[in-house]
Subunit: 320 residues, 2 copies
Amino acid sequence: MELSVAYLGTGGPAPTRLRGLPSVLISREGFRIMVDCGEGTQRQMRLSTGLVRVDEIYLTHFHLDHCMGIPGLLKTYDLNDREEPIRILGPVGTVQFMEDLRPFTGRLGFHVEVEEISDRDVVGYPGFEVEAFETAHRTTSLGYAILEDDRPGKIDPDEAARLGVSDGPSLGALQDGRSVTGDQGEVRPEQVMGEDRPGRAVVVTGDTGPSPRTVEAAAEADLLIHDSSFLSEDSERAAETAHSTAAQAAGIAAEAGVKMLSLVHISARYHVGAVVEEARETFADTNAPRDYDLVRIPFPEKGPPELVREGAIRSGEPEE
Amino acid sequence: MELSVAYLGTGGPAPTRLRGLPSVLISREGFRIMVDCGEGTQRQMRLSTGLVRVDEIYLTHFHLDHCMGIPGLLKTYDLNDREEPIRILGPVGTVQFMEDLRPFTGRLGFHVEVEEISDRDVVGYPGFEVEAFETAHRTTSLGYAILEDDRPGKIDPDEAARLGVSDGPSLGALQDGRSVTGDQGEVRPEQVMGEDRPGRAVVVTGDTGPSPRTVEAAAEADLLIHDSSFLSEDSERAAETAHSTAAQAAGIAAEAGVKMLSLVHISARYHVGAVVEEARETFADTNAPRDYDLVRIPFPEKGPPELVREGAIRSGEPEE
């Protein structure tokens, strides 16, 4: 079951030649959650994933670089005759933010639902949930943990055989949680299945200083996408502006025991290689994705998360 | 004296892979006037001209694709400690538009002056003026004609010699409009200069159907940048949406007697080559600039306007 993160904009607070404003698109079996939507996000989609249908947009906070792509994206969906509703969730202030946008978005042909959430709120979906966690920025701000439900344990084929079930279809039914009738009568899934296995987890912070709440929310996550605005040499500036240094982001990743750390929002003053290097001293599995990169997150038994350079770019005909 | 137009965004109403939302940057001797500022314009600048100081922004109308780059551009200027004021001019509604943006732009460290203008209003600058002209869209909309002042005529060196002036510095002073003393006494400029020569003119329409006001405002302009949303095969749709076909844009250019016609806002449904071809049947000197192209407009005696592919891209070090 596909779980991936497309990096639509890895820069901030101002765009550079190579990096657009913050936005990531998390896809799970065709359901798409965008976290943040900086100015230019619809164009970044055109340049990579295509203008796919986003189902929900989570905003981390309302600093301009994280949210000014919303009106244009909604307008373009409208131009393309979108009918499906979209939901926009974020911290206290989201309702006002969307109200303030109304003069610009005008009437749209689809419903925009707006919902304010706060620390530890959980939004449920079939097969996963999104947990909000408070981050440490200069304004009310939330990060989001996309947490898959536990998966059923792995079937023990020897135990199943002992109970008289060995044909493929019956083993498949047991794995899917249904009882079957074997040579020796009924066999229930719990008789042959190992313990539930944890689902996958992707955690996105938005802008934040280092915070114990992030460690908690990102515990054992497959991927943590964390603010890394500064190098340690500028840690005072990081503290003043409530951002993180690369070393701090790496410290959070190490403490949370995540599998992969992606650094974003790196100040344009630095060489990105130096930023990654600083983080790797504390946490080895660190990268700094570029715009249009993709992280694929397989189930753990299939391998670790994998960064695919330009993996978000859909191949297609040139437009002109 | 340099006069050029950098095409920052040639698409619309939605961005495509190759074309950003509407914005052109007109530079005259380091003074920069932007016409329209669609979402992503600050990034388009980063990718071409660099984030240069724009002095004035003229808005043609308030449809989202033409103006949603304003808050981000202003914020980024602020982040870069801009101190120079900026003026934003546009039709009735500009004050309300900027007021509606206030929740997003917040406090800025430089002054933003806002001014509403209307048909036939003229804004003066040293050496040129901008004349607003009403265009024919579905909302109050203006186009803008950037019109240089007449230049002094060319000096007649034979006549000057006859009056006793032949040295370079004295001829230069006469050309600059100052009297000089020659071998036979004072010589005034008007004694040796030909008739005033017309200044250069660049005209930008924004979104519009064909309009006699555009013909009038663009009379003998060096460059007309005109809406060309549709091909003639879709002329009904063009009329319904108050846009122009390529043939209509070319008709305007021919009637106005301009030197060069640039087609913009071409619907993504068409092959751009076909759109240019349709226009050229009526007006030969037609092109469809791509993002980051530049048109250089020399004084007429130095040659015709010239389209330079990717001419707006400033060479520089890569950013990472």
